[in-house]
Symmetry: C2
């Protein structure tokens, strides 16, 4: 337990461990990388000796030489919403397997990513940064990154967009393109098949690319089928907004025979309002479709039909982008596409 109090004045070096274990300096490094190939017995022996000598491969020191911190910054507005927490969970596992640790940065609740926080993040000199364009714009984030090329989650719309907004300077960033068209088309076809004619769209948070892309895509899909335009119900992705939105739609507005929610959590709020407050039957009186397919969507009380984003595929794509970019820092913008599909459960039928 030497060095537990403030650390030993003189740190053990990898060379000292290599000598003690009678292995190469490289073997010592490999022993400390969970991902590097090494005979289990050899790794165990090296780690045991390293421990006895209280050696730690200080990444702070190594970072100065290799310019690799093995830190991946993830900028999120909120860790506790189901989708974000499930994505961070899967991403952390995947990054750990590649020898990276996840560094969490929370944006302010008003999503105004202030420059102090960006400068603060920059201080950790992450190897890569994953962000949602709603939280911080690429040209602003890039100004605050020393060398990391940010990865943005982009939601593709008809006509297409690279995530940049009019008038924004060209900056280098990599992209995950979530193609929502396929899954949403299946959803609209299902509703049409059940003869739904009056479809309401329960919005997500305003100014969110995901919200904007889902609304535009739904409008385009309904137009193609001659279903007119969706009834727009304000929302913010939350359970409570979904709940309140339904009370307004059915008590003040004209109601609807189907509700397409911008995410699953707000669909839960809509379902509960329809059943408990409005005494309507789902799916008999009103059909409900969500978006994401979070773990809670299979819960018996909701059993929600929803458009699934393949979380595993999305996480694998993000990790591929990070590794590709670290291999080729100079490469032009990289991108990967993630598809969506409809998962049919009990709220339509």
């Amino acid at each position: 337990m030497t060095g537990k109090f403030g650390g030993s004045p003189r740190r053990t070096t990898a060379e000292m461990v290599a000598r003690a274990a009678n292995v190469s300096r490289a073997a010592v490094s490999r022993a400390f990388n969970p991902d590097a190939p090494l005979k289990p017995e050899k790794r165990a022996r090296i780690l045991k000796l390293a421990e006895e000598l209280s050696y730690t491969p200080d990444r702070a020191a190594r970072a100065l030489v290799t310019r690799r911190t093995h830190l991946v910054g993830v900028i999120v507005p909120d860790v506790c919403s189901p989708w974000e927490s499930q994505e961070i969970d899967a991403l952390t596992s995947a990054l750990q397997a590649e020898g990276f640790a996840t560094l969490l940065f929370k944006t302010r609740t008003d999503f105004s990513m202030d420059e102090t926080l960006l400068a603060y993040m920059r201080g950790f000199n992450p190897d890569s940064v994953i962000a949602f364009t709603e939280n911080v714009r690429p040209h602003i984030l890039t100004r605050f990154l020393d060398r990391a090329v940010p990865i943005y989650i982009n939601y593709v719309m008809e006509g297409g967009t690279d995530g940049r907004r009019p008038g924004e300077p060209e900056t280098l960033f990599d992209r995950i393109d979530v193609d929502q068209w396929e899954g949403m088309e299946q959803a609209v076809a299902l509703l049409a098949g059940y003869g739904c004619s009056r479809i309401a769209y329960l919005c997500g948070k305003e100014d969110f690319l995901a919200e904007h892309a889902r609304r535009k895509t739904l409008q385009a899909l309904m137009k193609r089928r001659g279903l007119g335009s969706p009834v727009i119900v304000p929302g913010d992705f939350s359970y409570d907004a979904g709940h309140a939105g339904m009370l307004d739609l059915f008590r003040v507005g004209e109601g609807a025979d189907a509700v397409f929610a911008a995410n699953d959590e707000s669909a839960f709020g809509a379902l509960d309002a329809l059943r408990y407050e409005l005494k309507l039957r789902v799916p008999e009186d009103v059909k409900v479709i969500g978006f994401d397919d979070i773990a809670q969507s299979h819960w018996r009380s909701y059993n929600l039909t929803t458009v699934k984003i393949d979380l595993e595929a999305r996480v694998r794509a993000i990790v591929r982008l990070i590794l590709r970019r670290l291999k080729a820092p100079q490469a032009p913008a990289l991108s990967e596409t993630v598809r969506t599909r409809l998962v049919v459960r009990g709220t339509v039928g």
Copy 2:
């Protein structure tokens, strides 16, 4: 955007920024600490110049001098379970406000925290590490920490425990003591008040301190009131286990007139099984109480009566422990206590 590709060969120093801004070296450091007091105009001017000179206060470099990495490691089995995600969310906000970033480490799903992962974590040299004793035992974790004193979440039981298990060596770690007695006593009193005589306990994951402490505390509380022993229903904190547990209890076993679940999520599964599969009315036929008071517990489909752990108080206590420990690395074990209380909703009455 200089240095965006691989970083500029020669880094700008804080002194260069101080000279350019005509301020002290200390003012430059303060400008980059979101928490440090500094006139907004002054901070803005320094950050603007730092940006123009593409200066970044490299914590990797500073860490070697100050031996502070400003990283707080959080070891969790799983980020996406509601309670953990809500705690990590609040903790990340609180730590950011103090100038720390949250470094996530996920344990293996079998909770066997393997030594490679610990050695890997040690490489990041965190200033502090927060862990749950189920994932890694104090004496093992401490061997892998260079200087950080770990903080453990401890669940107090009658008779008391400092979180150490029989035969484990004495090691220095700080502690959050969650006192479950008060809230659980209120829960048992409420059930007794409604004349419940046959109370089932839906278990959490075996070998979890939280599970062990909740079961023992419930047994002690029921004994005191002459309510006999709870019917033990196996579980693992998950929705699905709660759901399956009720089917076994009522279809194979003798049933119960009240169910106390080890956490809210498994209580949701129990509620859905009781209502949808077993066609029982809650609370008329069976009363249900959970533990945690996660955000989902107020959802209308569940509207769960539960024992609340004050998340904000718990997070504030953790941050206090980190700051106290960094001030006094040599201090003997520190601890803070977090209380619990019953939140009454619709599943008892």
